[in-house]
């Protein structure tokens, strides 16, 4: 009791030490092995008019690189020389104020992104037309729908016209039609001799937009070159934990069941892969060890799209054969086929094991990922909706119709 009271009274001193050291890196300099460099030895040239994609797993240093280049945070070492005006689109709608009208926010947002007032005056009508919210320009933005806000924000961003445009995952906002519009606009930007640096997890967007790509891995440049080559190498890189994952150094916390491996495979060849054409599903194998016989074991996965929305959750006990059936001690593989109705894009898989329903379970977040390519997609892949199923349709003519004077016979 006295001890706790003492600790409580001392807490301001502790807090002071802690918050002061937020600025203080001297203790790290004395023990360099504790320092994590988000980027190290990263060196590259970008020429005028090039569109460069930057890819890499989460935590590889992509965002740090962009933050340094857009001067949001200074590097602790190294130099970057930039010729021309830089605008960064790290998030559309930065600095929008809900109480201000659309017109006022165009000016405010524009100047925040680095435009001069005269420049906005000149482009104002164009921006308003592009946003398609012209009628509501004198309405406070707080009364806008979220779609209108995004359109207005992107309209401002699209008219920045800097020499160098830095874009980080802005495609993750808005609906598919809007995303296509963004991509189109960025292509135009590149076509006008401007330089674009583009970070995305969406390999489709990268390969559509960029000519060259840089693959960052653990803060270093792993590969640099033509966009498709780099993407292919990146997607086939098993070590990056995309097609095959093993829980190295991860101990189960709540269950005794140990996941040994999770992998995505081509259903025909059985080879690990993380790329699949639209309509063809990959096979998911989850290998695990059951240490003691149990009737309540289930294995599941959560499928998420690149925006982080859960598409669905599936369990091996959805198969009635295995519901409540005892699994003896031993090693198992639960295998399933992913559906073909996934829209082209990137998906993330979390795998997990559970003992009993909602009782004890372990889940490994986003350990696998794969891309669905639009190859073989018979319809516009950017159609709205989370999934893109090809469903059965019938058309039944009920009355004979008249077509150009000819009677159309009844079908079926």
């Amino acid at each position: 009791m006295a001890k706790e009271l003492f600790r409580f009274l001392r807490s301001p001193i502790e807090n002071y030490r802690r918050y002061r050291s937020l600025y203080d890196f001297s203790d790290l300099e004395s023990s360099p092995q504790n320092v994590l460099h988000a980027l190290e030895d990263v060196s590259f040239d970008v020429h005028v008019g090039e569109r460069i994609g930057i890819i890499g797993a989460n935590g590889a240093g992509k965002s740090t690189l962009l933050k340094i280049l857009s001067r949001i945070t200074p590097p602790s070492r190294g130099t970057a020389v930039i010729r021309g005006r830089v605008s960064s689109l790290l998030e559309v709608g930065t600095g929008f104020h809900p109480e201000l009208t659309g017109r006022e926010n165009i000016y405010l947002n524009g100047t925040i992104l680095g435009m001069r007032k005269a420049e906005i005056d000149r482009k104002f009508d164009e921006i308003a037309a592009f946003s398609a919210v012209e009628k509501f320009l004198d309405t406070p933005v707080k009364r806008y729908s979220s779609g209108m806000k995004v359109r207005l924000a992107f309209a401002v961003a699209a008219h920045l016209e800097p020499e160098i445009l830095i874009v980080d995952e802005v495609l993750a906002v808005g609906d598919a039609a809007f995303q296509q519009k963004c991509l189109k606009k960025m292509e135009d930007v590149g076509a006008h001799g401007r330089t674009v640096l583009f970070v995305s997890h969406n390999m489709g967007a990268i390969s559509q937009l960029c000519d060259r790509a840089i693959w960052l891995k653990s803060g270093r440049v792993e590969m640099e070159g033509p966009v498709d080559e780099v993407i292919r190498a990146y997607l086939n890189d098993g070590a990056s934990g995309l097609a095959v994952w093993r829980p190295e150094g991860v101990e189960p916390e709540n269950t005794e069941i140990r996941v040994l491996e999770a992998s995505l495979r081509d259903p025909a060849s059985g080879e690990p892969t993380s790329m699949v054409a639209y309509g063809k599903g990959l096979r998911l194998d989850i290998r695990y060890e059951v240490p003691r016989a149990s009737p309540n074991v289930s294995v599941f996965y959560v499928l998420r799209d690149a925006m982080g929305d859960v598409i669905y959750v599936s369990r091996d006990t959805d198969n009635p054969t295995w519901k409540g059936r005892e699994r003896a001690a031993g090693t198992y593989v639960s295998t399933t086929k992913l559906p073909g109705f996934l829209k082209p894009g990137r998906y993330l898989l979390s795998v997990g094991v559970a003992e009993g329903v909602g009782a004890r379970w372990d889940r490994y977040e986003d350990v696998l990922s794969f891309d669905v390519t639009s190859a073989g997609c018979p319809v516009n892949p950017a159609r709205r909706g989370l999934i893109l199923p090809m469903l059965e349709w019938d058309v039944i003519a009920e009355k004979p119709g008249v077509d150009g004077g000819k009677v159309v016979p009844l079908a079926r």
Binding site: I72, V86, T94, G95, I112
Partner: protein, 278 residues
């Protein structure tokens, strides 16, 4: 080709260590943003209120009446013969400006963290914007001041030439404090809580409710090192048409300039870690 390349501005990004110079040219380049941020603050302040800018008149008026009743009528504080209502009007109006400007300026970086991590512009803009935008309230509340002066038939005469000096001093004080506190508040959020109480006490540190002549002469210099004393005394003497009491004003001017320069330097020194620490 060669000339075209030379037209483009070249930015060199390199590590920042220790003290940094203040890039005034860059600040000038961002003057439009400055303007829009100030204007946003003004537009948004009284959004969806019935009284709108009348609040800028009403709020100090109520305060002055309350002070007059309590300190003038009940406590009968000496004002060297000046009617208390006039006496406190001349002090409360600049004081209100300084205290609100200080508060908003100190909170500007923590409040602007969404912008801070998303886009680059000179960070120095954050604490300076409130110093300018709060001037609008101040200018409106001058209506009260003018009314009171007309009522008491006070004529400042040629003394008005000194007014710009004290207006500038009145803006330098919250700017200096705001630069210091906004960058400190990033690390220690205590600043927000401390400032609330300090401001309540600070009103007694300057001759706002009482006359400076109440301070014993041997402490006068020490007392006047507080730049708020200089602002209030200078402002009051200017508008009452009295001689400017430089012995109260000069030490404060000195402190104010030191506060501003040191604040700007400290701010620049801390700037590089703002985004990482916030």
């Amino acid at each position: 080709m060669k000339t075209e390349e030379n037209d483009l501005q070249t930015t060199v990004i390199r590590p920042q260590h220790g003290w940094q110079a203040i890039d005034l040219r860059e600040l000038l380049e961002y003057r439009d943003l400055f303007g829009f941020l100030v204007w946003r603050d003004i537009k948004v302040l009284y959004a969806q209120t019935i009284l709108g800018f009348f609040w800028a008149i009403l709020a100090p008026l109520i305060q002055i009446v309350v002070f007059t009743v309590i300190f003038g009528k009940v406590a009968k504080v000496s004002t060297d013969g000046i009617p208390y209502f006039l006496f406190s009007t001349l002090a409360v109006i600049p004081w209100n400006y300084m205290s609100t400007a200080m508060t908003t300026s100190s909170a500007s970086l923590v409040g602007g963290q969404a912008l801070l991590g998303k886009v680059y512009f000179p960070r120095l803009i954050f604490p300076i914007v409130p110093v300018l935008s709060k001037m609008v309230d101040f200018l409106i509340s001058l209506v009260v001041l003018a009314g009171v002066m007309i009522y008491y038939k006070v004529n400042p005469g040629w003394n008005l030439v000194f007014l710009p000096v004290f207006l500038l001093l009145m803006m330098i004080v919250p700017a200096g404090i705001g630069l210091w506190l906004s960058s400190l508040a990033i690390r220690y959020r205590d600043v927000k809580f401390a400032l609330q109480y300090v401001l309540k006490l600070l009103i007694y540190s300057a001759p706002i409710l009482y006359s400076a002549s109440a301070i014993p002469e041997k402490y006068r210099f020490l007392y006047s090192l507080n730049p708020i004393v200089g602002v209030i005394e200078g402002f009051r003497a200017t508008l009452l048409g009295q001689d400017i009491p430089w012995e109260y004003v000069a030490p404060g001017m000195f402190t104010a300039v030191i506060l501003l320069v040191s604040g700007a330097l400290y701010f620049k020194r801390m700037e590089r870690v703002f985004v990482d620490v916030i």
